[in-house]
Amino acid sequence: MKAVPATISPYPDGPLIVRGDVELVAADGTPISARRRTVALCRCGLSTIKPFCDGTHKAAGFRAE
């Protein structure tokens, strides 16, 4: 199957939504397993499941701008 180019979309006051073929790798090179086709990456720094978003930005009143 042909690879789908990845897109990374910052959602307003929310996470980065990542779609398409992409490899997530920790700073030390360890692969991070993405358990779904579309993932949300934490942008507020407060998630308890980083690098993924857990919705905490809403309670924290995170603003992207």
Binding site: P12, I17, T38, G55
Partner: protein, 347 residues
């Protein structure tokens, strides 16, 4: 392969809660035949509160189960029987009117993707009543946790199905967004990751019955009402906006509560088979809520502005009815009682 994945078992049929549900169960299992429309008219006429009326809500549940095919004992040849459809219409008219009466809808946002998404996030974050998830996290007993799983089983063993009815009713970007969410709900191609299957594993892990409908007799009308709300929105294309709004609100009030549910179940000593479902939803619904608010509800409002009032109504209806269910559980527990009609289900 786990046999329950290929041939899910269902519980045998349920105990009637009045003349209408008795007649429907008889008719759908080939036992007898009655004037369903007249009985439906009488049932809604006599109900003090349609949302909490046992006969009305069980009857709607059974009629919708016939459409889903979720209960094998219901005769599939009667799925489109005109008498049953006419009876369902009588119930739905009263049910929708009752929902529209109690659900408060804020002034509508501007019909743009961003404004609708912001309005939905504001609506769902303002929904901070007494919290079932905080109770589960910190205080609930083991019996209360089991009751919670039983109450959830009515919808969650068929998780995502009510919203899937909307797929052929949508077009373009709203359809793509709904399918993106639902594909993840259905495991992204992995049968063992279908959310309903992960929940069935949680029930088994907690020593509970994982057959669909196994606990229908145990739950009150308001729990059936929560599923019936989504089934009615999903099965009637005139309510396509409402089912989209419902899904958005459901996803947007999920990731943080599910973290608390998982914490509470761990505190009570349940293992990974039970907590997997809740942990999965922390991550999954943080994705889904973004797609649902913006790409699904927001895009639909832009593309079909006439649906905006129902998008916001559906979202508010989700919060209202799920709030009633949560209040029922917390109030019963506060009184030192079971939230179930049959407390022995967790004994």
């Amino acid at each position: 392969m786990n046999p329950t994945l290929s041939a899910p078992a269902t519980a045998t049929t349920f105990t009637a809660r009045g003349p209408l549900s008795a007649a429907l169960l008889d008719m759908l299992t080939g036992a007898a035949d009655d004037d369903i429309v007249a009985l439906a008219e009488r049932a809604v006429g006599e109900a003090d509160d349609v949302l909490r009326d046992d006969d009305v809500q069980l009857s709607l549940f059974v009629l919708y189960a016939s459409a889903y095919g979720s209960v094998a004992e219901l005769d599939p040849r009667l799925e489109w029987d005109p008498r049953l459809i006419a009876g369902r219409c009588v119930l739905e008219r009263a049910f929708e009117a009752a929902l529209r009466e109690v659900v408060r809808v804020d002034p509508l946002p501007e019909c743009s993707q961003g404004a609708v998404a912001s309005a939905l996030f504001a609506l769902t974050s303002a929904d901070a009543g007494p919290s079932l998830s905080r109770h589960l996290a910190k205080k609930a007993t083991r019996e209360q946790a089991l009751e919670f799983l039983i109450q959830r089983s009515i919808y969650t063993l068929r998780e995502a199905d009510p919203h899937s009815w909307a797929i052929p009713r949508l077009q373009g970007r709203a359809k793509a967004a709904l399918v993106e969410i639902q594909a993840d709900e259905y495991g992204g191609g992995r049968p063992d990751r279908v959310h309903a299957e992960i929940f069935a594993k949680a029930l088994r892990g907690a020593g509970l019955d994982d057959r669909y409908g196994g606990y229908v007799d145990a739950v009150p009308a308001i729990t059936l009402c929560a599923l019936n709300t989504m089934s009615m929105f999903g099965l009637n294309r005139r309510l396509a906006g409402a089912i989209v709004g419902h899904l958005a609100a459901f996803e947007m009030t999920s990731s943080i509560p599910n973290r608390l549910y998982g914490d509470g179940l761990r505190r009570l000593g349940f293992d990974d088979d039970v907590t997997d479902y809740f942990d999965e939803h922390v991550e999954a619904d943080a994705v889904h809520e973004q797609i649902a608010a913006r790409d699904l509800a927001g895009a639909l409002a832009e593309d079909q502005p006439q649906l905006l009032p129902d998008i916001m109504f559906g979202a508010a209806a989700c919060l209202t009815v799920d709030g009633y269910v949560g209040a029922h559980l917390l109030e019963a527990w506060e009184r030192g009682e079971s939230s179930l009609r049959t407390p022995e289900a967790v004994a």
